[in-house]
């Protein structure tokens, strides 16, 4: 029986069936549905798998490592920019190694459908010297999870599994396998390797470097890396991950004319690549993201004339691949698309009708003329839409938590009346630490926490800040007389403007918590929030 699932869901089911004991993640498009699937899975509940959201990607990965330390299989999931947040533990757990299998799933977002950059996580895998897997379709995503955990335990290393938006958010029929039992608790024989003081770390790092050959062998014999060679030697194609689909979309019927190496496991299989290279007049590299394989190939073979790809302009270096772009790179003719009708205009995403952020932005807009333009530091979340018309309110958006620290830096530079706006979940993800810095120096900034009791942008998941913001801020040292709570409603407009104006004029840290639940919260989650608040009181 085939099950109709998203790439993300296939992978999640694959992890459940591979015997994980828990998943740790922070929501982020395009990765969110992986954890949601496990949270909603009946069987996962019955098995007692741990599946609540983490405060950020670093804590998620660390908790997964803790679970692995106990000998159990753990999954940690994030989007590409989330791996930056978790990169500290990611680099180090490659050095310590793991105990129970540990798979790091990272969903990249080429074309920036819902992200601020296009970074290619394969570089992180290479950086950390760990194996990387890259499925090209939903069935592979499912099957690879079983393999990834086995490989992780065999090599005693975390395995990075890279997805891209187009696979994460595409459905297909997938056949599931039998479920493997969870590991029991079994602490590591040698705990020194998990204590990375220099004397231990030096030994461990040598071990990690020493595994290079093992990783290469695993990749060379891996059935995920397939080389098909044919008589016509004019063009050899290297197709990585989802790039394989676009090649096959164009060539499936004429495959006998081409030599094709499909790469879905890294480090790249050197021998297979050499074979393809030697026996082809030209080599085209089709990969989604950065030209990683293409660069390596150029280094291997000191003759870049016959290697084409992104670096040579045969494929674009920005944005997603498409069947048409790949057809062109192969040299097949495809008609140029017709232009879109002049009648069609852009329809950008908008804040939902009745969203509390709208009323908050109106309050901020009202004070801007008195404080001057370009002083509103924004952050990641729905309120990022405040950068667009009709709000045109926020001026920066860099990464999770940067609003507070950038406002502080701007204040240090002498900018008066800087405002930082940040969401409740983003605040706990990466804003709290910055606020402590601002408090320590009593920086003249006004931090507005737009609290909608949800991680709204990714679909209103649970926010760990719910009901705790005031106490957190007080705990971090925000003075009580400059910690204000407002409700962003039309009827409170005047009052809210007054409060904001007063706090902006205060020559020290002020925090305004603007509270109104997200309109997308379901009745069920509203009920959960109520219960949580009751338990906190």
């Amino acid at each position: 029986m085939k099950n109709l699932v998203l790439g993300n869901e296939a992978l999640a089911q694959g992890a459940i069936d591979a015997g994980i004991s828990g998943v740790y993640a922070y929501p982020g498009t395009p990765s969110t549905e992986i954890t949601e699937y496990i949270q909603n899975s009946k069987i996962a509940k019955e098995l007692g798998l741990h599946a609540t959201w983490s405060v950020n990607e670093k804590t998620a990965m660390e908790a997964a490592l803790g679970m692995s330390y106990c000998g159990k299989r753990a999954l940690t999931v994030m989007k590409h920019v989330g791996l930056n947040v978790a990169s500290d533990v990611f680099m180090n757990m490659a050095v310590s190694g793991i105990n129970g299998g540990l798979v790091v799933v990272v969903a990249d977002d080429p074309s920036m459908h819902s992200s601020q950059n296009e970074q290619d996580s394969r570089f992180y895998g290479k950086f950390a010297k760990v194996p990387i897997l890259e499925p090209s379709n939903q069935q592979e995503a499912y099957n690879m999870m079983h393999y990834a955990f086995d490989l992780s335990e065999e090599l005693q290393l975390p395995v990075l599994l890279r997805l891209v938006t187009r696979l994460s958010h595409s459905k297909s029929g997938v056949v599931f396998k039998e479920r493997r039992c969870q590991n029991g608790i079994q602490l590591p024989v040698n705990t020194d390797r998990f204590a990375l003081i220099p004397s231990n770390a030096k030994k461990q790092y040598k071990k990690l470097v020493g595994k290079r050959e093992l990783l290469l062998q695993a990749s060379e014999k891996s059935s995920w890396n397939k080389l098909g060679q044919h008589k016509d030697r004019s063009l050899g194609i290297v197709a990585c991950g989802i790039g394989y689909n676009y090649v096959m979309e164009n060539l499936a019927d004429d495959l006998e004319f081409f030599s094709l190496l499909k790469i879905s496991q890294y480090p790249i299989p050197k021998k297979k690549l050499k074979k393809l290279y030697k026996e082809s007049d030209e080599v085209l590299v089709v990969e989604e993201g950065y030209p990683l394989v293409e660069e390596i190939l150029n280094d291997y073979f000191d003759d870049t004339r016959k290697i084409t790809g992104k670096l040579t302009g045969h494929l674009p270096e920005t944005g997603e691949l498409t069947p048409n772009l790949v057809a062109k790179a192969i040299g097949l003719y495809r008609k140029e698309p017709k232009p879109v009708s002049d009648l069609v205009v852009a329809r950008p995403p908008q804040l939902c009708e009745g969203c509390g952020h709208i009323d908050l932005f109106k309050v901020i807009q009202e004070v801007i003329p008195s404080i001057g333009q370009k002083k509103v530091f924004g952050d990641i979340g729905c309120y990022a839409l405040g950068a667009l018309a009709p709000m045109n309110t926020i001026n920066t958006l860099i990464d999770m938590g940067a609003s507070i620290t950038m406002a502080k830096g701007a204040a240090d530079a002498g900018l008066d009346n800087a405002i930082a706006i940040i969401g409740d979940s983003t605040f706990t993800h990466s804003g709290m630490t910055g606020l402590l810095e601002a408090v320590n120096e009593n920086s003249p900034i006004t931090v507005v926490i737009s609290d909608n009791s949800a991680v709204a942008m990714t679909g209103a998941q649970e926010s760990l800040a719910t009901g705790r913001l005031k106490e957190i801020c007080l705990g971090l040292g925000v003075p009580a007389d400059h910690l204000k709570q407002i409700v962003p409603l039309k009827k409170n407009f005047k009052l809210n403007v007054e409060i904001l104006k007063k706090e902006i004029n205060h020559k020290g840290v002020s925090v305004i918590i603007s509270e109104r639940p997200c309109v997308r919260l379901t009745r069920e989650s509203k009920e959960q929030i109520k219960q949580k608040l009751a338990s906190l009181n």
Partner: protein, 197 residues
């Protein structure tokens, strides 16, 4: 056989529900399916699209190659026009006539209809008003699906079964209403000759 469909509309119009039902129907009709959809930020009041590929053999690309779309089914007329460049020469376009005007520079409706009607295989259905007549404006998607059903390479009874399956956890009444809307769409498509606005 490979049949490529683009579903288009505005975030919140239920495009993904419509896609899921078509997927389930195709899978149950022993066909291969791939369906690529939009999640996240762009869903909120922004333009939304969904690629569905149905075939009797393995499908590779999750997205439809340009100019190879057999059918564009749209919950909104301007969103339909956005995808015309991807349409095959003899492809079908089917849309709800109701506009969703959440932007200030929304084009003239009559101009939109006029352009849609320059395509040989077009159908403009007032699905929203059909759904309202049935007492539930949310089910206009099922009216659209009914209107498109005869063009799909899936048996129509499989689509009805997929609707029932998709709403299996809802009440009998909800399932019944959705089926009713689907059948009304089928009838509207049969009766369709020329759209008068």
């Amino acid at each position: 056989m490979t049949f490529n469909i683009i579903l288009s509309g505005v975030g919140g119009q239920g495009i993904l529900t419509l896609a899921s039902i078509i997927d389930i129907a195709a899978l149950n009709d022993n066909l291969f399916v791939k369906q690529s959809e939009v999640h996240g930020m762009s869903q909120r009041g922004g333009a939304v699209q969904c690629h569905i590929r149905i075939a009797d053999k393995q499908i590779y690309s999750d997205i439809i190659p340009e100019g190879e779309t057999d059918l564009i089914l749209s919950a909104e007329p301007m969103e339909l026009l956005r995808h015309i460049p991807s349409l095959k020469k003899k492809g079908w376009i089917i849309t709800d006539s109701s506009t969703f005007e959440n932007i200030v520079n929304y084009p003239d409706r009559h101009e939109l209809y006029k352009q849609i009607k320059t395509h040989w295989h077009h159908m403009i259905i007032n699905a929203k008003s059909c759904a309202k007549d049935l007492g539930n404006s949310k089910i206009c998607n099922m009216v659209l699906l009914g209107a498109a059903s005869s063009k799909l390479p899936i048996r129509e009874e499989k689509i009805e079964a997929a609707i029932n399956y998709y709403f299996r956890e809802k009440s009998d009444k909800v399932r019944q209403k959705n089926i009713e809307a689907f059948r009304l769409g089928q009838k509207k498509a049969k009766d369709f000759t020329e759209f008068v606005y």
